[in-house]
Amino acid sequence: MAAKEDRRYLESHEWHKLDGDVVSIGISRFAVDELTDITYLELSQDSGEIAAGQAIGEIESVKTTSELYSGIDGEIVAVNTAAIESPEILNDDPWDQGWIIKIKPSDPAQLENLLSAADYDAKCNG
């Protein structure tokens, strides 16, 4: 269940993966397993600017409701409407098909401030 090494993490379980000049954000397998079945996904906005530390949406499971955060600043370029329609995609494939939002980062170097996969795993298992 180790975190993927090709991305950076928030302690609140969001992953951030840089592809070219776009960063995809999703939640980790650990988070999905903790939440159990995801029943609802809502984004506060589907375009425009977001800031690091800002709640970008909400995610609901059978047991609980949680907020979603971005770890970096940027402009939204895409949202995963398939995942909003069918949030169980996050349970099935949180690392890939279950991405939530894509942003164009204002400063890709901000990613360096986030947790590495190893540090994130250590937090989860700690």
């Binding site: 397993d33 159990t36 079945d37 029943t39 609802y40 809502e42 909400e58 609901e60 059978v62 047991k63 409701t65 349970n91």
Partner: protein
């Protein structure tokens, strides 16, 4: 240190995700909660409910003790039957909801894990105050208990016993399967047919060997393991109250819609006894109820949660006690206490979510789900 049931290692082998429930390390789920829920509705499954408290009550004044502490008459119970009842405090507040079993010569009380020590202490106090001769023994940790629930369970159990499928609801039998002595009752907490089985803790492994097969990929297993999370969504669809949610010491059984389990006149009968909380409940009944437990159904897919305020327009009229996105029905449901003026079926009400948003819904009849039809 959390308590573990005799099935703990079995749960680990089935990949359980555990949770601390009233001091017990209990399986929350074994994968998908929704899949477990649907498995029970469509086929069947097994829950470990060994954490629930089991008290044996024997001795000369057992019957009197139970008439004193339970809101519901027990004197007319036949042997090998069970009855749902409440334990109230002097103010009529609910201390617990219980199942009482009448055996030949003694009784068993099954109580909620979270209330086990409270009810044990309460029983002891009533015994002492009334100088009763009763032997009260807590058998929770010397026994184990499983619930087998679902439409496929009776056929499966019929392979082991011809008698069990002939049991009426709320009756039980005592069975010796090989060397296993078990009490099997046709009871449950899911809204489906099924049984609950009490056995000696030392027999738990043998019982598993008898009942459980290794899971086969792609095959339905009517004895498949299910956890507390699915048990919660199942009982909510069936509108069964849960202690700590619909039932608390601040709520009385009449407000909770459980008057079927309250006999306000039982002290008037031959061998009758007044019960703790009876006078208070009579006053509440005479004054008329201020609130009622209702079902709410919502638009959209968002889940109402315990504590969410219920509103009519902007006016607060109640609060949610349990909510979920119903796996069977596909829409959000909740149980709530609302003022009687707003409790009519069809009344449009909204519920606050944690972020200040609201979801729109209406009062609907309970239960949300009934096995075999709707």
């Amino acid at each position: 240190m959390l308590l573990q049931t005799p099935f703990y290692k079995f749960h680990v082998s089935r990949g359980a995700k555990f949770t601390d429930f009233a001091g017990w390390e209990m399986p929350l789920s074994f994968g998908s909660v929704i899949a477990e829920h649907q498995q029970i509705r469509q086929h069947g499954g097994m829950f470990d409910v060994s954490h629930m408290g089991r008290f044996k009550i024997a001795g000369r004044h057992s019957r009197r003790l139970l008439e004193r502490v339970l809101t519901r008459r027990v004197t007319d119970m036949e042997e090998k039957t069970c009855r749902y009842a409440l334990v109230c405090n002097e103010q009529g507040g609910i201390m617990d909801d219980v199942l009482v079993y009448r055996f030949s010569g003694y009784w068993m009380l099954v109580v909620n894990a979270s209330n086990r020590s409270k009810i044990y202490t309460h029983l002891q106090a009533v015994i002492e105050q009334n100088k009763m001769v009763v032997k009260l023994s807590d058998q929770t940790q010397s026994t184990a208990m499983v619930a087998l629930q679902g439409p496929g369970i009776m056929e499966k159990i019929g392979q082991f016993s011809r008698e069990v499928p002939t049991l009426k609801r709320y009756s039980f039998c005592e069975k010796n399967l090989l060397i296993l002595k078990m009490t099997i009752s046709r009871t449950g907490y899911t809204g489906e047919d099924g049984v609950e089985i009490i056995m000696g803790a030392a027999m738990a492994d043998k019982a598993l060997k008898l009942l459980v097969r290794e899971p086969v990929e792609g095959q339905v297993d009517v004895m498949g393991s299910c956890g507390l999370a699915a048990r919660d969504t199942l009982r909510l669809e069936a509108a069964m109250p849960l202690y700590g949610h619909e039932l608390t010491e601040e709520i009385d059984p009449l407000t909770a819609g459980l008057s079927f389990a309250v006999n306000l006149d039982k002290d008037q009968e031959d061998r009758g006894e007044p019960f703790v909380g009876q006078d208070a409940l009579k006053q509440i009944a005479a004054a008329g109820l201020k609130q009622k437990r209702v079902g709410l159904q919502f638009e959209g897919k968002r889940t109402p949660r315990q504590g969410g305020l219920v509103r009519q327009g902007d006016t607060e009229v109640g609060y949610v006690t349990s909510g979920c996105l119903s796996p069977t029905l596909g829409y959000p449901i909740a149980m709530a206490y609302v003022a009687v003026e707003q409790a009519e079926t069809g009344t449009a009400l909204s519920v606050d979510l944690s972020n200040g948003k609201r979801i729109e819904g209406q009062v609907v009849p309970l239960p949300f789900y009934k096995s075999g039809g709707k």
